[in-house]
Amino acid sequence: MDASLITPFISSIQNVFSTMMQLPVTVNPPKVKSGAEPSHDVSGIIGMSGDVTGSVVLSFPLETAKRIVALFCGEQMEPGTADFADAIGELVNMVSGGAKAQFPDNRRVSISCPSVVLGANHVVARQTDTPCVLIPCTTDCGELTIEVAIREAAANAGVDSGARAAAA
């Protein structure tokens, strides 16, 4: 697990929330998430591809999501509506985009259009070969988590190990 791919998400979420909503985010110690743990009630999911592959999930309890969306959009939105999902999707889009810009070594990474899942105790399935780092966060609107399950693309990992073998 490469910490240089995880720590950009910490500064990115703080930047996005403070810039767009003037909402400070306190980031708490990260931990490894087991595949079976449910996320919160509302999750924005984005995929990454290119030099780094995997997925990023921004997950909120329902009431936290409602408060944050209201701050972000300037009006209350009903969960389950397209506009509510759009706001959640845009938040995970900005957090992921801001993080990937900080990845070291000029990695070329593309991010997908976001998906949004609403429902208590949902589990986001991921590739089993990629550990998921869960970063708990606290705000005045409530708690949320960033779940980062990303790794160097297999082709790049192969090139790196091949180069080391040739040099030995």
């Binding site: 900005m94 801001g98 990937k100 810009a101």
Partner: protein, 129 residues
């Protein structure tokens, strides 16, 4: 002034529209992706475009390259999460006049719009004359 907002996120279009309203620009139309935008530019004849990058159907970079084949003078501002230097270079090569990285404050977006129009409008007036 006719302004077109091109972003698949209605939330972002609303935020940008609010900034434009504060600046006094109310003749605004919206498109949800590059293809939608191409279908509307002919009839609407925008004088400024704000374009997202990552969109379904047709992304912003492809839209800019396609649009620039028919119009080389209307100013375009890319408003996107793509912040890497190589992306900015790609966008400028495609014909973008200015670049705003999300997240942005309303003040920053307003500044970029004002400075883009100030730089681009004199040449538009010359072209029209």
């Amino acid at each position: 002034m006719r302004i077109m907002l091109i972003d698949d996120s209605k939330t972002m279009r609303n935020i940008q529209k609010s900034v434009l309203t504060q600046l006094g620009y109310t003749e605004v139309t919206e498109a949800c992706d590059g293809q939608d935008a191409l279908s509307k530019v002919g009839a609407f004849q925008p004088e400024l475009l704000l374009v997202d990058w990552n969109m379904p159907n047709m992304d912003g970079l492809t839209f800019v390259k396609t649009y620039r084949q028919q119009n080389k003078t209307v100013p375009i501002i890319m408003v996107t999460t793509e912040a890497e230097k190589n992306r900015v270079i790609d966008a400028i090569k495609a014909g973008v006049n200015n670049y705003v990285v999300k997240p942005f404050t309303p003040d920053l977006l307003g500044q970029r719009i004002t400075e883009t129009l100030a730089k681009c409008q004199p040449s538009q007036h010359q072209a029209a004359a």
